[in-house]
Symmetry: C2
Subunit: 442 residues, 2 copies
């Protein structure tokens, strides 16, 4: 077997313009060889570009996912009573859904083994938000991860180096070779990590809009169908919700600020959009975990997990297990804010017709909520609170956002971006649904 033949098979030619489906042996030879160091990066990068153009079948992407998965260790959850269901979001602005979702679903009897990422570019990261809780540890060992899942039904950790090393290698290569934006490669990258963490079924929140990787419904649908189809090819039950990411999700964008909004949701008084999305995703997770027969039943169970206080109890128990102090966290609500503060006020009378999520995310990077490079630190107390959201009436000079920055210098560029993000017009905009589309392969 030669790598160049595999590349040409995927590439195709005049008589076979779309190329051909690769076999498991061929994908193992190429990707296994790359991880082992026997296939050079220049062959893998030309293959990646051929995949960009010609795509992969779901079966083929499933094999790629499986080969990537087997490049490293997987989390062994045997001995713990399941079911194990996880959620993955493709990343957005103000997306703190994992934080209230995990304890709500855990309260319904479904275990959530959650591995999350960090903020990068305009999107936030669950690990950075959790670490804004003093003492909270996100680098769990496998025994700790198992123990906390057993004790409170879920655990939150970062991906270790042993998990899917092929994804780290391939992602680094894709990043510099113009091959990031490939649906099957994105699918294999996401799925390999989620399957490695031990999930038996998966719910995906595929974001769509200015603040998302997928800017329109067609692209988001393509990714959702690929995640569902590839997941199914691997024997996993998958539900994808395509959800609106034109505006930031919720009222809070920041690290500790989003922990506060999580507490609001768990107390049943969170913003409508965050609550809606949490319950929709939670309902499907409960269904996929076999604890409810229908979406409506699952949703009712999630609502009850909030009203009963059980979800809040599990969240605080998880904070305690993972090194934080629940009492101190509750005492700090509304108080942990950077002293470097500014305000954005409405430039006109009318209605807020939109707050661009992408620009808000970029402002967040300036403020210290996020980062441009993986080695940058974030500021727990930075962020923004949105007082007037899409559809709200405003008068000129009304407070639209409170803004907290990591330092005094960052406020001006951030405010400039936020002023650009804010649209005010004379007409009240039509409401937009939170969940735009459901795609499942169960």
């Amino acid at each position: 077997m030669r790598a160049v033949d595999i590349i040409m098979k995927k590439r195709g030619g005049p008589g076979n313009p779309g190329g051909s489906e690769l076999t498991r042996e061929e994908i193992e030879f190429l990707i296994g060889g790359y991880v082992a160091g026997t296939i050079p990066d220049y062959q893998v990068s030309s293959w990646l570009m051929a995949v960009f153009f010609n795509g992969m079948t779901f079966a083929e992407a499933g094999v790629l996912t499986d080969v990537m998965l087997k490049s490293g260790k997987t989390i062994d959850l045997s001995g713990i009573a399941g079911p194990f269901v996880d959620k993955h979001s493709t990343g957005g602005v103000g997306d703190k859904i994992s934080l209230p979702l995990a304890p709500i679903v855990a309260a319904c009897g479904v275990k959530v083994p959650m591995m999350s990422g960090r903020a990068l570019g305009h999107t936030g990261g669950t690990l950075d938000k959790l670490e804004s809780i003093d003492g909270f540890r996100t680098g769990l060992s496998v025994p700790e991860f198992r123990e906390y899942i057993e004790k409170c039904g879920f655990a939150m950790t970062g991906q270790t180096k042993e998990i899917v090393p092929a994804d780290r290698l391939l992602y680094a290569l894709r990043d510099v070779t113009g091959t990031v934006e490939s649906i099957p490669l994105i699918t294999a990258s996401i799925l390999s990590k989620k399957v490695a963490e031990g999930a038996e079924a998966l719910v995906f929140d595929v974001k769509c809009g200015s603040g998302a990787f997928m800017k329109n419904l067609a692209d988001a649908t393509g990714l959702a169908e690929s995640l569902a189809g590839t997941g199914k090819a691997m024997g996993k039950r998958v539900v994808c919700l395509i959800t609106n990411m034109e505006d930031p999700l919720g009222e809070m964008v920041g690290n500790f600020l989003e922990i506060e909004e999580t507490l609001d949701v768990l107390e049943g008084r969170g913003p409508a959009d965050v609550t809606e999305l949490t319950l929709a995703l939670g309902a499907w997770m409960v269904v996929l975990g076999g604890k409810a027969a229908t979406y409506e039943e699952g949703r009712g169970m999630c609502e009850k997990a909030v009203t009963s206080g059980e979800a809040m109890r599990l969240f605080l128990e998880n904070v305690r297990l993972q090194g934080g102090a629940p009492d101190r966290l509750l005492a700090e609500r509304g108080k942990r804010r950077s002293p470097h503060k500014a305000e954005l006020r409405s430039p006109a009378d009318g209605y807020v017709t939109g707050i661009d999520a992408f620009k808000t995310g970029l402002a967040g990077v300036h403020l210290g909520v996020g980062r441009n490079r993986t080695d940058e630190a974030v500021c727990p107390e930075a962020g923004l609170k949105i007082h007037r959201r899409r559809g709200d009436a405003v008068r000129k000079g009304d407070l639209v956002m409170e803004v907290w920055g990591k330092d005094a210098q960052c406020l001006s560029p951030a405010l400039g971006l936020l002023a650009e993000a804010l649209s005010v017009g004379p007409e009240k905009p039509e409401p937009v649904a939170m969940v735009l589309k459901e795609i499942s392969a169960v």
Copy 2:
């Protein structure tokens, strides 16, 4: 400027499916950086694959050619009276046209600065053929190259390491990354070397058929149009002839055997197809060199160069200048044959309906005419003489080919391939034109 942005610009995306034309600065950054070692091969290979899919405009391929050209030295022919016109063939089986063509065109007053290649795979190489003449040197220094052009109107040499180093680097990378078969990349590779040798105008023999790189007229037309259009974008006058390569060219396939057929052509008694193609290419070279106003006039001049003996005189003078012994060469005609001989006889009565050039070329590799790897030696005395060609009547048992191999062992596999190459049928096949199509950009 970042390489990844250049890759993505060529690659395109959902809103720009064909990618965009790159600027000179971008191509210089990428290819210049690759040659200088600042751009890694894995970025160049993903760019090459993007070019495979999205192509290049003629202007863009012209810039790539120019950037490649400027990666090394070019031959300075200043001080020598021109015009300088060269021919390039895309490679075939039995293609010895350069050998009679150069002295014929030189006899018409057009200088031919010819840099040629070696046999590889099923195709032969002009340098290997020339080196079958005892003493003939193909590794000329630039002063020698200039001197011989001045003295006999043409010179034949190999490409030195200083000429277009970017092409050697890029070709080696394309070879292992599945990006050989790209029209603009093939164009830039061919043109950069031809322009570097000092040619002001170029005639291309684009082979089409089983023994050619381009198997059908559509593909050959694509390459011819790219060579003509890209050459024009660089300010060079270009004529492309698309010519038949279904059957081997001429009666002789081999190294010294093709030198013998060259002498036949120069004496006006070569095979009709070799003579026709030599005169057609020569006529255009004389026109492009400004020594004739029309194709017909140019062709008449080439014919006269043969009948007058001037072309033969120049050929032998070149042999002498480049280290060979003309008298000895003439004395060896019909005598230098390997002792390991076999014959292919007709399996039936009827007509030869075809001799597959590709399989004949592969048989040639077995015999020692060509090579599979660049470090293999060839055998000057190996090859084959075709006694019955396409359209000839045969009876079962008639001698179709005499075959000479480098050793005794190679004859059997070669004969097997030649038997497969030979088709005999009851109907006399329709004649096929030598020149299938002309494409020019003058």
